[in-house]
Chain length 112, copies 2
DNA sequence: ACATAATGCAACCATGGAGTTGCACTCGGT
DNA sequence: ACCGAGTGCAACTCCATGGTTGCATTATGT
């Protein structure tokens, strides 16, 4: 992508990008089972704690996880409602396409 | 059996990756309105025909578009049903997370 | 108060993928 | 038979980003 400065990718694609990384997706799934901190996750994964922290920052930026301070640690949880909302939006978009394309196809065959 | 929520070489993330690029997403949206060929799309976008062709290959690989030969051109259409299916799957996953996390939270507060 | 576990920040490297140009091939219509 | 539109393949550049290490900072529990 060659967008120079103000590369403002649509919010939609930002979310997809967040979900597109394998490690990040595994972290999210893990947080869907129970909350955890960056350090805690680091001991369960094979990547460094800093890598995990970056992933969490990305996920939090598009609200796929929420964080909460407890003691000296930052505890993260998956925001299932957010994912669900994205999913339902996708469903709606896909349905719209099918509806539209079906109409076009029928119109092309009608004047017979 | 490809559903057990902990299968790794995730087909899921492949789809996300396909949707994560701004240009590709715009192409998909365009194809959601009406079918078009690579060359046709190239005249509507600011990128080269080859770039478009690559995007179409990616989209077709994860079945987000379908192609059909007509005359000497390859005509692509958006597969709305595929997008909808992905969307509904996401919705389900998100709901599962919320349900699970709510149960944990309640369990932590119960024996008080 | 102090040791320690946790997070935060920065510089750096390496890979992948988006985009380009150039050229070869293949049909279809007149 | 031919010209050209449409496609396919390949080599190359560039940069965004996932990953690393090292160090600074914060703050908790005893």
């Amino acid at each position: 992508m060659q967008h120079t400065e103000s590369d403002q990718a649509s919010e939609t694609t930002r979310v997809f990008a967040a979900l597109a990384d394998e490690t990040r997706w595994r972290i999210l799934q893990r947080l869907g089972r129970s909350p955890a901190s960056a350090s805690g996750l680091a001991s369960e994964f094979t990547v460094s704690r800093q890598a995990i922290a970056k992933h969490l920052a990305v996920l939090e930026a598009c609200e796929l996880v929420t964080s909460e301070r407890v003691g000296r640690e930052l505890r993260f949880s998956a925001a299932g409602s957010r994912l669900s909302a994205v999913g339902r939006a996708l469903d709606a978009v896909g349905s719209g396409w099918d509806r539209r394309l079906a109409a076009i196809k029928e119109a092309a065959e009608r004047p017979r």
